[in-house]
């Protein structure tokens, strides 16, 4: 149901054809949910496997090799995640925008993205020094641990927003 008295741009999102189809088509909503889940399984799975390597597991594998394999998948997964997330958002835009779990999810998402960007611009620049068989520097390990915490939080908030 569309709550009355929402903010203008949110209610206009809810009245788009895509939003109406999401609410009223029998199978579109669950299909979009499934695609969203497949997308973030690839994204968070890639991030977690990379993070565990940085934290010291499977040190015989080169970090650069893992990065070359996982990062393209993580990027491609956004093509599934973002449009499907957008569709779920517009279906109930007012409700989502006011949902504390959804707001926290977006904040954690931004934090996770900034953390990943900071990792790439800082410790990853010197990866040649610790690419294989060596301990990653503290900054890299810190970013990896933080990444695991943030992505866990994003998933938790994504599930919990249905309960707030």
């Amino acid at each position: 149901m569309t709550p009355a008295g929402g903010v203008g741009w949110l209610t206009s999102l809810e009245s788009t054809a895509a939003a109406t189809a999401m609410r009223q088509s029998l199978w579109l909503y669950p299909i979009v949910e499934i695609l969203h889940i497949i997308g973030f399984v690839v994204l968070v799975g890639s991030a977690a496997m990379f993070d565990l390597r940085l934290l010291g597991l499977s040190r015989q594998l080169p970090v650069t090799g893992m990065e070359r394999h996982l990062l393209p998948w993580a990027r491609a997964s956004a093509l599934l995640i973002v449009p499907t997330g957008g569709l779920m958002f517009v279906a109930h835009a007012t409700e989502f925008a006011g949902n504390p779990a959804f707001r926290l999810k977006l904040i954690l998402l931004v934090a996770a993205a900034l953390n990943a960007a900071a990792f790439h611009f800082r410790p990853f620049r010197q990866v040649a020094e610790w690419d294989q068989g060596a301990r990653a520097p503290l900054a890299a390990r810190f970013a990896a641990g933080l990444s695991l915490v943030l992505w866990t939080g994003v998933i938790a908030c994504g599930r919990l927003l249905a309960y707030f």
Partner: protein
């Protein structure tokens, strides 16, 4: 990465909007206060994630939260049966904080009862 960073732009827009209560899960409803209501459907929404009706009973209109449309369809309550003007009986629980809202455990329309949980 850049795509995710782009989502960051949405945050300032989302913050500052007045929270609106969502209606999902059963924990928000007080199962110790079972209600049985019979009335006329004034509005029907066969919508995701949960269908709803506004049910007019003597002196009051309840917002009755139902089940996902796919489940209702599978259990023999297609959209056509959930029509405005139909008589319906719902058994369910009132919302703990939202007055006039209840979540239905089952609904009976035209003599056919459909379990919603």
């Amino acid at each position: 990465m850049r795509m995710i960073a782009a989502i960051a732009l949405l945050v300032p827009a989302a913050v500052g909007v007045v929270p609106v209560g969502a209606h999902h899960g059963w924990s928000g409803y007080d199962s110790s206060k079972e209600l049985t209501l019979t009335g006329t459907i004034k509005e029907a929404g066969y919508e995701h994630p949960h269908g709803h009706v506004r049910l007019e009973v003597p002196g009051k209109v309840w917002l009755v939260v139902l089940a996902p449309p796919t489940r209702m369809e599978n259990r023999g309550l297609p959209a056509a049966k959930l029509r405005v003007g139909a008589r319906a009986t719902v058994v369910g629980y009132p919302h703990r904080s939202v007055e006039d809202e209840m979540r239905a455990e089952r609904i009976t329309i035209e003599g056919a009862t459909v379990e919603l949980r």
